[in-house]
Structures are given as structure tokens and as C-alpha cells.
């Protein structure tokens, strides 16, 4: 999945968090070093 690409993740605390997306991508074979930024915002 996303071969050769670097991935930026934008999550939200009260919705889908960055960590959840990371876990999914890793399970789909994305290498950890290709996730270059994972941001989970707290909007309040």
C-alpha cells in the first residue's frame, strides 16, 4: 500500500485518532519510517 510514498496523518481526538490510522496502515504493510508525521489535534 502506497509503495515508495511518505505519509502524513491528520487525526482528531474525538473522532479518528492518528494512532488508529497508523495501526491500520502498518497492518496493511506500510513501513513505520514512511509515516513521516502523525498529528492528532485536540480542538478544545
Amino acid at each position: 500500500m502506497f509503495k515508495g510514498k511518505k505519509i502524513i496523518i491528520f487525526g482528531e481526538r474525538d473522532e479518528i485518532q492518528g494512532a488508529s490510522i497508523e495501526n491500520c496502515l502498518k497492518a496493511a504493510g506500510v513501513k513505520e519510517e514512511n509515516i513521516i508525521s502523525s498529528i492528532t489535534e485536540c480542538f478544545v
Binding site: K6, I8, I16, Q17, N23, A27
Partner: protein, 107 residues
């Protein structure tokens, strides 16, 4: 999209090359998804941030899109995203998919 994040995305695009980057969103708010996706595709529509007039044309995806879901082992997807997929509901998921697909293919 906040000015700080615009700076961060711009820096990453400069470092890796925009064609090598993919963005994955986890917000459920339609307006927020749209603004964020447009900012990283066409540039900041408000004309305030560092991405104003900078069309990075990044490929923006959402974790709820069927084409993403299909690539993730279903047990993991269910455990990590299942509840939020119900929260969003099929109609919103379809809307998100349509919006982002259009941005990815027409730009």
C-alpha cells in the same frame, strides 16, 4: 487549516517532493475535510497561510474510503476504526469518498 500545519506540510513537501507524499485524514467534519484537502491540493483558499497560492497537489485520502479500507486487514480495521465508521454512517462515507476522489483525479 491552521497556519502551523500549513508550514509543516509545506516543509515536508519541500523535503520529500510533493509527488512522493500522501495525506491521510481522520476527521469526520465535512467542512474541515474539504478545507484541509483543498488547502493541500490547490493552496490555502483563505489566502492567509503559507500555502496560499501554492498548489502542492498532494494526494489526500480518508481512512474511511472504501479503497483504503479494502487494503487493511478487516479485523484490524474493525478494531481500530469500526466504531467511528458507524458514527460517520454510509452516507457521509460516500460523500467523503466522492469529494476526495474528485480532488485526486481532476487536479
Amino acid at each position: 487549516m491552521s497556519l502551523e500545519y500549513q508550514n509543516a506540510v509545506k516543509d515536508l513537501a519541500f523535503k520529500y517532493g510533493p509527488e512522493n507524499l500522501v495525506v491521510m485524514l481522520g476527521f469526520l467534519d465535512m467542512d474541515l475535510i474539504e478545507i484541509q484537502a483543498i488547502t493541500m491540493t490547490d493552496g490555502d483558499p483563505s489566502g492567509v497561510g503559507s500555502l496560499s497560492g501554492v498548489a502542492l497537489r498532494l494526494k489526500v485520502y480518508h481512512i474511511l474510503e472504501p479503497e483504503i479500507k479494502s487494503q487493511i486487514p478487516q479485523d484490524v480495521y474493525q478494531e481500530q476504526i469500526g466504531l467511528m465508521a458507524i458514527t460517520a454512517g454510509p452516507e457521509k462515507i460516500a460523500k467523503i469518498s466522492e469529494l476526495l476522489q474528485q480532488l485526486r483525479t481532476t487536479r
